[in-house]
Symmetry: C2
Subunit: 396 residues, 2 copies
């Protein structure tokens, strides 16, 4: 059933079954929390729905209150009731803002195809997967303060990169600007030592995430403490936090893990997500894959992250790591799609890419269902590359 | 000159020249911002000093306002004026809380002696320093949500550690719980692409920091994305944020860097800090060293952290990394002091340590000046090890 007084276009990511949360600024007003329906947003505070929690600039307090579910129920009743057009804004008339105040951002590495591809590219003579990879969800802390909402331009970063001839490092604009197609979970309820089967108490919802990466800066800096400047300049997320509740019909069993994980990472409930993902470069699809085949689930990532007693906090963001499938066009980064420059990506306009050019726009899309069955989607996570800033200190 | 109506004990870390900021909860009241003098704290809001900024539970807004200097001036006037005993609390009557709301926590690796020691321990057959180490301040993002104030107990963490015989990883309590003696800078004013010579506009002050580390968990997990669970369980900081202003007399020229750093990391102003540091284990000094010999300065760390366009935010915490000097008793971690178990540390009670035992208390101390000249100190950063939690999922 869809509401009678709000048009939900056929195939929309945002039918009544979705109702994701976001934060928007109307042209004439203050930032506030909304729920999206079709191509509109519902102003929750104006509708009198928990105004003390919804007249806010992030959904953190709403998540922490545990009332997200009842808010979505009240919005459902509202939308199935008599028309209240004054509560709606067309989504094109508002500016979507970052929906969460990000606490810690931890990015994982949970696709076996991605980890294998990167291992083959960077350690051609060794085992593609390191010994720990099948034993725990490998991850690291990213920069929370660099998380931005979809639509925010991404400035090409500068950093120290060795000259290919002399090996001498120079501070230059990256020549290897890449994307990472990811999904991220948002923590809505705190806890430590969380068991995978309890993850549903703590995970509020999900967004798409693009972990922009400068591969040349990353390659030079990352030993021995991991990525830093190569990834800390920008991480984009989609503006609509799709709730776990809305996605529950799409939770499926994950792939069998071999070896069997340690008891503290063992799960009996299905936590893989049957989600379709696609990457567009300048409006042309260059990759598509599925999320259900991820080796480690968000439930296991959350269990691992808190297994040493660390608290998960409201607003924590857990990235899946780059999502790649087994096929050559199922890869979630350009370094994989173009195989580190060996097989450049051809575009319809006749140009080729090994990495991103200034002016390129990358858009991630993600949706569950469709093809006749009910659809619950994420919308888009998009960003356009701006040229590096002029800087007299650079040598390039 | 010292105030006439507040006793400042001889040799105190907190004379009138210091006046660091903290947040405390009095036995009978709400958390509020104070300035420490001798063994007392001054309640700023009660003194009528910027109450809208000081009647708070963190100093972030005060730092962001740019009024820290004028607040310290007003406290100086107050302390040199007529007695106002009602504004003081003995420091022993209040509970010191975390003084800052931590935004991003980035930990560096800026001691050449520490990096060389770790390189020798972990890569005995290779070059001790990796090629990037002298070119940029290597660092990574730590877990902001695990930063706690001095005095908070530290629970021995569990994690996956390979069995020494079979190599099979098990979820066990760490057997290699370590400390890291560090100093950290607190960002009080935001910015990107910060030059080292502009760092004084952005750095508000400093604290001592202990980056507790589980070496066995860390060793298994850290390839290829760096430390995570081995360090994310707890990071302690001292409660008093000593201002850059108070430490300016102790800024000195850093060691000569060879090779000369890239222009964007080059500095002409002195940013090494002539600070004495010591580590006590169960009230017995086991190490002491100086901070002035650090290879990379906080000004360079801040420049590096923002050189890719990333914003530094108010509340960002930049750790120096473990501070070690050239001598055998100048090492800031147990793995170095006991040389990974080869030379256990003997204590006065006849016991030995390679790593920490349950019940051990570690206290970091730091001070500038002294020995007849004016002293400005940090007080203590302390923590006591609690046993690992019982857990039926563990195999140990």
């Amino acid at each position: 059933m869809e509401p009678a007084w709000v048009d939900v276009p056929s195939g929309s990511d945002f039918p009544l079954a979705n109702l994701p949360f976001g934060v928007v600024r109307p042209a004439d007003g203050e930032a506030t929390i909304v729920v999206r329906i079709g191509d509109h947003v519902v102003d929750l505070a104006r509708a009198g729905i928990e105004p003390e929690l919804t007249n806010r600039t992030s959904i953190n307090a709403l998540m922490a209150s545990g009332r997200g579910g009842s808010v979505r129920e009240r919005v459902t009743e509202l939308l199935l009731g008599p028309a209240r057009q004054e509560l709606l804004h067309p989504v094109d008339d508002v500016t979507a803002l970052l929906p969460i105040e990000v606490a810690d951002y931890v990015d994982f590495y949970s696709s076996i195809h991605h980890a294998t591809n990167l291992g083959r590219l960077f350690r051609p003579d060794g085992e593609a997967l390191l010994p720990n990879w099948r034993r725990l969800p490998v991850g690291y802390h990213g920069r929370s303060g660099s998380v931005v909402v979809s639509g925010t331009p991404v400035r090409r970063p500068c950093g120290l990169v060795p000259d290919p001839t002399t090996g001498e490092p120079h501070y230059v604009a990256t020549r290897a600007l890449d994307i990472e197609l990811e999904v991220a979970a948002v923590v809505g309820y705190p806890g430590a030592n969380i068991r995978p089967d309890d993850a549903d108490r703590h995970v509020f919802g999900f967004v798409l995430l693009n972990d922009w990466s400068a591969r040349d800066i990353q390659a030079y800096e990352y030993q021995p403490l991991g990525p830093n400047l190569g990834k800390s300049f920008a991480t984009s997320i989609s503006p609509w936090v799709v709730t776990l509740e809305a996605l529950t019909p799409f939770l499926v069993d994950p792939p069998v893990q071999d070896p069997t994980p340690s008891d503290h990472l063992a799960a009996s409930r299905p936590w893989a997500l049957d989600l379709h993902l696609a990457v567009d470069l300048n409006a042309e699809e260059i990759a598509s894959t599925g999320f259900a085949g991820m080796y480690w689930t968000f439930a296991q990532q959350l269990a691992h992250m808190t297994a040493n007693g660390a608290m998960a906090h409201v607003g924590d963001l857990l990235g899946s790591g780059t999502v790649s499938g087994p096929g050559e066009r199922e890869r979630g980064s350009l370094i994989e799609l173009a195989w580190r420059g060996a097989t450049p990506i051809g575009l319809r306009d006749g140009s080729f890419r090994t990495y991103l050019a200034d002016g390129d726009t990358v858009t991630l899309r993600g949706w569950c269902g469709g093809d006749g069955s009910p659809r619950v989607g994420f919308g888009e996570c998009s960003g356009t590359i701006k040229p590096a800033p002029p800087d007299e200190r650079r040598k390039d």
